[in-house]
Amino acid sequence: MQNPHPGLPEIEYIKPASLEEASKFLAAHAGEARPFLGGTDTFVRLRDGAWKDKYLVDVKGLDGTAQVSFDPEKGLTIGAGVAMNRVEAMPEVREHYPLLAEAIRTVASYQLRNRATIVGNICNASPAGDTIGACMLYGGVLKVFGADGVREEPLDTFFKGPGKTNLKPGDIALSLTLPLPPRGHVGRYIKVARNKLGDLAIVGVSVLAYPDATLASGYRFLIALASVAPVPLRVPAAEKVLAEKTIDEATIAEAAQIAMDSCSPIDDVRGSAQYRKLMVRNMTRRALTEVWQKLTQAA
């Protein structure tokens, strides 16, 4: 018989009936079982032999993973199993979380986004994940079901290294909550890649900003970088400059330079470390400038 999925090893598919069952199974089979949602990272890694799991535990559809809802008070809650396209198409997302919508549209292709999930993007913890920066800047918090019940994991402290997070065997991410962003905020995601459709980011720059009268500059700027460090990277030092100094071309350039100096990218077939650093500076400057222009136009 011809293998219809060449290279894909034999895997047992588990469809648990409850979260408890899923969590127990995953904990009991640590190292050889993993949860999956869209599977768009999982199947590629299994085929490449990078992952050697025996069991795939389908956690789509379990309690709280299939819905996405918006509450004008609490914000947006995205169930783990909700595909990116569904999130991106929501009018509330386009209105209140435009940076997330923009980031989603840069992920692979429309077809892939019919399967891929935001929570999968986060749990996969690739430094190149395109939606992670937006979720971090919106103050995203993961709801996780584990052996000790349900807990919250703020994204700012969630990532430990490429593919490494605070999740332990038996943990299942249920949903992601993004609080309601400040009024009048502006965002921008710039992805530098080798092509316009399907490539991973050589560098990704997320910027979010809003008026904040408590700061010397009058604005709060947040910056996250993709593909330039072992984890998705926030740049507090640059954010500080933008909070304290009058925003102008020089301040923006200074912040961009700090962003560049704070990252530690690697060389790979997609781009050299040197090019990545330069792109961090140039694209941070570009994103900050565009965001700044929009903020001042709105004012």
Binding site: Q2, N3, V192, N195, L197, G198, M260, R270, G271, K277
Partner: protein, 744 residues
């Protein structure tokens, strides 16, 4: 006469869009078994021993084959320098060596693909590594490690051209431009990775269903390696999922035949199927040759090019493949479509441990055209002359003498083609000569975005060159009584997806004056058709067209003589060509040419180094567009493929090990990366000996893309970049951006 020149529906359209058409990987036979290849996956080593016992004992494994199972363990298109399977016990010397990562060492045949894969991984090969040679310049050194010790040198082929006296001519030149150009490897990325089935047919013939470009050449190479008479081997091409030159050499052909034949000898008559993964395809077949071209051109201030001196070095990779022929083309085309009185060319194809390089759309032409056209554009800049004007003052015309000392065949149209392209792209013909369009390279609103336009032109042979035997057979059979009811066209020619079979039917219908519906094609099976030559060298429409036209005319004559069914078999032979003279290069290289001119408008983002091609114009003389829609499809496809080559496709080999063996690491353009529209100008100046005036055209629109784009980038950025692909990093490096930051 309504069929020729019409965009009739392709004969394969319905089957392909409904999914009914079967490609080699879709074929399934009762009782079939599966094969996996053990690839060497190391660039240079001697195989000390192969232990297949664990694999053989694995349940479900039918057989494991190694070098000792190959009757005549050698093959090649022209030069038999490659073992079918590498390893000890071979019938040929030095066949115990692996010379590139994709060399094949063992074959496992099993009940399922999984078992074959698993058993393949149980094979133990002991290697003794040999020094790796990955740079052609190093390979040319006297003391270099030899890839093929029996050949005494890593230089596989060299040619020279000596016309006039270049040194003297340079002393009369007002301007001289020197350049060193480096062109990259390119992977074909045809849609369908290699696949096929080998079996013993009802007449006892070793039969291979496979996608190739020349069924009878495949048959010949299989028969040679198996030590069988030609008639005992049969090759059938089902639908072919793209080729671009990448199927000219053997991939799975011989091993499928070998496995089916050896099993048969053991009393097992079961079809053997193989399907390569994309990664196996990328390491398993050849690539486009990278070239290093050093060149010097001189011109007078009146814009007369007086001399060109060129040295070309091509990396052949581990085996010859079509390197000698590709080099032959590059040697001719490196001085461009110009009449230059003094020419000196020295060219070399050199073995290294890199993946072999061979046929790929343009066949050495694009590499040579890159150097030639960049030189002309630089000369124009230095002379302060418009680049179209400079070209017009030197361009090949009817009766012009080529660098090889003989006149170019009649039907020369490059002047017209260039003029049409230039006009469409915005050039003006004024009383003062040609004048480029005004393009502001800097937009004050977006100072980091720069614009530029570039133009280039080229010529490319149609058909086999330099004395290679060239011919094409066709048989046409007319069935009916009072009226022709059915026309059977027997032809071996490969339809790689370019629409060749539709053209065959159109030419037959046109010649016979019957509607398309009456044509029945019996194609691409060595048991029922005669040798057509390959689907390559932009030759298929030209050669098959002439053959089918001849056969149809013969059949019609017999029909009129009351023969029923009336049959005509015809072999078309074009005018003879001759090889390079070893000292002077004097030769009659080709019997026909196609001509192309191309212009590109680019937008360069100087902060990211990214380039967008906003506008692309291609004028191509096709002689006669047998099927205009197919012609435009070829132009657009070639331009896009060449834009990928120029801008994006970056095949990386480190110490002769490829790092880009997947389509997530080796990127080709997506629908969003290409110009919204390629403006195609289909010029129809008949070729005097082409069928109904048609010329070949599949490769021509590929030819001048790289120099047109690189020249546009020069205008946009102010920097000449003589090496591509123009990756963003290369652009920023050329602009001095990367060095500056490297210090930080």
């Amino acid at each position: 006469m309504a069929i020729l020149g019409q965009s009739v529906q392709r004969v394969d359209a319905l089957g392909k869009v409904t999914g009914k058409t079967l490609y080699p990987g879709d074929l399934n036979f009762p009782n079939q078994v599966y094969m996996k290849v053990y690839f060497a996956r190391r660039p240079h080593a001697r195989i000390v021993s192969i232990d297949t016992s664990a694999a053989e004992q694995h349940p479900g494994v039918l057989a494991v084959f190694t070098a000792k199972d190959v009757p005549v363990n050698e093959y090649g298109l022209g030069i038999f320098d490659q073992p079918v399977l590498c390893g000890p016990g071979s019938s040929k010397p030095y066949a115990d060596r692996v010379r590139f990562v994709g060399d094949q060492v063992a074959l496992v045949v099993a009940e399922t693909e999984e078992i074959a894969t698993h058993a393949r991984d149980l094979i133990k090969v002991v290697y003794e590594d040999l020094p790796v040679v990955d740079d052609p310049l190093e390979a040319m050194q006297e003391n270099a490690t030899l890839l093929h010790p029996d050949r005494g040198s890593n230089i596989l082929t060299k040619y020279r051209i000596r016309k006039g006296d270049v040194e003297k001519a340079f002393s009369t030149a007002d301007v001289i431009v020197e350049g060193e150009y480096i062109t990259p490897v390119q992977e074909h990325v045809f849609l369908q990775p290699e696949a096929g089935v080998g079996l013993i047919d009802e007449e006892g013939r070793v039969t291979v269903y496979v996608a190739g470009q020349w069924a009878h050449k495949d048959q010949e190479q299989i028969a040679h390696a198996l030590g069988l008479p030609l008639e005992q081997v049969r090759v059938i091409y089902p639908a072919i999922g793209g080729a671009f030159g990448g199927r000219e050499d053997m991939s799975v052909q011989i091993i499928l035949a070998l496995a089916a034949w050896r099993l048969h000898q053991r009393g097992i008559d079961r079809p053997v199927k193989i399907v390569w993964s994309r990664e196996e395809s990328i390491i398993g077949h050849h690539k486009r040759h990278p070239y290093r071209i050093r060149t010097r051109w001189g011109a007078t201030k009146e814009g007369k090019i007086v001399a060109a001196e060129v040295e070309l070095i091509a990396d052949s990779g581990a085996y010859a493949y079509t390197s000698p022929k590709v080099l032959g083309n590059a040697t001719l085309m490196c001085t461009g479509p110009y009449e230059i009185p003094n020419v000196k060319v020295d060219s070399y194809a050199v073995y290294t441990n890199n993946i072999p390089n061979g046929a790929f759309r343009g066949f050495g032409g694009p590499q040579a055209a890159f150097a030639a056209e960049m030189q002309v554009n630089k000369l124009a800049e230095k002379l302060g002359m418009d680049p179209v004007e400079l070209r017009m003052r030197n361009i090949l015309r009817e009766g012009s003498v080529l660098s090889v000392g003989t006149p170019i065949p009649k039907g020369v149209s490059i002047e017209k083609v260039l003029a049409e392209c230039a006009l469409k792209a915005g050039w003006q013909k004024t009383e003062m000569g040609w004048k480029a369009p005004d393009i502001q390279s800097i937009d004050p609103k977006y100072p980091h975005l720069r614009r530029g336009i570039g133009i280039a032109c080229a010529f490319k042979n149609v058909g086999f060159s330099f004395g290679a035997p060239e011919q094409c057979w066709a048989t046409v059979e007319l069935i009916g009584k009072a009226e022709i009811e059915t026309v059977r066209v027997y032809h071996a020619g490969a339809d790689c997806g370019q629409g060749a079979h539709t053209v065959f039917a159109q030419i037959a219908a046109e010649t016979l004056g019957v509607p398309m519906e009456k044509i029945e094609l019996i194609v691409s099976d060595t048991a029922t058709t005669l040798n057509s030559g390959s689907a390559s060298a932009s030759r298929m429409t030209f050669m098959a067209g002439n053959a089918i036209k001849g056969a149809a005319e013969l059949a019609l004559e017999n029909w009129n003589n009351e023969e029923r069914p009336a049959k005509g078999t015809y072999q078309y032979r074009p005018p003879k060509t001759t090889p390079y003279d070893p000292e002077t290069g004097k030769s009659e290289p080709n019997f026909a040419y196609g001509y192309v001119a191309e212009a590109a408008e680019v937008l360069v983002d100087t902060e990211t180094g990214q380039i967008e091609v906003n506008r692309f114009v291609c004028a191509d003389d096709v002689g006669k567009a047998v099927n205009p829609q197919q012609v435009i499809g070829q132009i657009e496809g070639a331009v896009v493929q060449a834009l990928g080559y120029t801008l994006m496709e970056n095949f990386i080999q480190k110490d002769a090990v490829p790092l880009t063996t997947t389509l997530s690491t080796y990127l080709i353009p997506t629908i969003l990366d290409i110009p919204e529209k390629v403006e195609s100008i289909v010029v129809e100046q008949p070729d005097p000996i082409g069928p109904y005036g048609a010329r070949g055209m599949g490769e021509m629109p590929y030819m001048a893309v790289a120099p047109a784009v690189c020249t546009a980038v020069k205008m946009a950025t102010g920097v000449w970049i003589d090496e591509f692909p123009l990756t963003p990093e290369r652009i920023l490096d050329a602009l001095g951006e990367l060095e500056e930051e490297g210090e930080a």
